[in-house]
Amino acid sequence: MLKKRIAATLLVKDGIVVQSIGFNKYLPVGKPAIAVEYLNQWGIDEIILLDISATCKQISPDYSMIKKASLKCYVPLSVGGGITEVRHIRELMHCGADKLSLNQSAIFNTDLISEAAHIFGNQCVVVSIDGVKVGNGYCVYDYIKKTNLKISPAEMASKAEEAGAGEILINSVDRDGMYSGYDIELINSVCEKVTIPVIGCGGAKNAKDMIDLFQNTSVSAACAGNFFHFTEHSVNVTKASILKSINVRLETYANYKENNINEDFRLSKKADSVLEEMLFMRIEKEVI
């Protein structure tokens, strides 16, 4: 059976991974290559690397950064930012990208979606849409011009699907970096309009938010950026909590299946007797 995916977004600004808050405040986290390596070791299902400065400055994707970041990435890597032509995509593929994420190009140049889908296959094209709440509905947000567009995220997703997109990444501007949970209504509006897989993003604080998302929408993947960065083994611990109610993949060597997890979705301390025993336990290194 197909598992629900847990994906991580890495927002890169001027070559550095940043924590983003409400699309306007950015705190530095570290080098993309290091973040990718750790997320991979902790058993993430997919990594989405978005370079938010490339499109702003109207420059091509930062190929050398992607090449370094992909070196230790043995899970699918989607790359976005600065893609305006097919030759950018071809070059990114040579740098270790597996999929591409189109945001601005998807808004203003749907031909690029079709062209990319035709050459590289639909499965390769992810269209990323930023949605913002306006009145009772939602609008697509243009993060470059910082304005709301007249089209709704659901309509845009449907247009993207028609043009050949293979997946939709829907991100909530209002929830970005707020730790207030996913915008279920926004994400549902998109899920209902398309038949291709949808990835929900924006606002996740812990495993509970991800479980909520999976239980209340038909998304294929839950995505988080910020909260994975700040604790050791954040991914496998989160997955161990989610696995109790949702079918996700948990195959890391350290899987926390037997651990107790507290109400804040953090590991509970093991009993002293167990810890004492562990002192003398030999843990073999995994050999491939």
Binding site: L2, G43, Y74, D98, G121, Q123, T195, I196, P197, S220
Partner: protein, 207 residues
Amino acid sequence: MKQLKIVIIDYGVGNTHSVSNAIKHLGYKQLKISDNEQTIKEADVLILPGVGAFDECMKNLKDSHLDTILGEQVLENKKPILGICVGMQMMAEFSEENGIHQGLNWIHGMVKKLDLPKNFAVPHVGWNNVTIEHNEPIFSRNDENCNFYFDHSYYFHCNEEYVSAWCDYGVKITAAVQQDNIFGVQFHPEKSQTNGLKLFRSFFNSI
């Protein structure tokens, strides 16, 4: 560890760099990404990666005469080859992606669009567990029911005798095929974390 001469076939559209990263991680140093006839002739083992549409991939192979070069190495010299995703699909007789197109015709079968029950999204994207029919050689290090990363809209429809693993996505989907020295996987071992690395290791160790 035997240092094999591994060549990843470069035909313009594959994710060659990803495959090379994964294989390098396992410690194989004599690894090349190439479309050069001489290099391919000298290789011990070939990898045919794939990301892209069937017709575009086949066209690129033919334009660089790789179809004949590979045919000679694989069918006559019996060189082991592993096809990944579209790389595997191209081993079929033909595909119906973007119209009917001829494949390399190495394994009897055809590539068809996924025809799924309602509520199953196409493409089939994500981690799915496989049921292994033949452990040897490529799955010898993997656990039964382990997960691999899939990302495709078309599948290899062929006789059961060639299917070495399959997965369940509303219908039974061919996950891996093998016939003599020819191996193919629908999923991406280079993107399936430890399980994929184990598969590469088993494949290379069997040579």
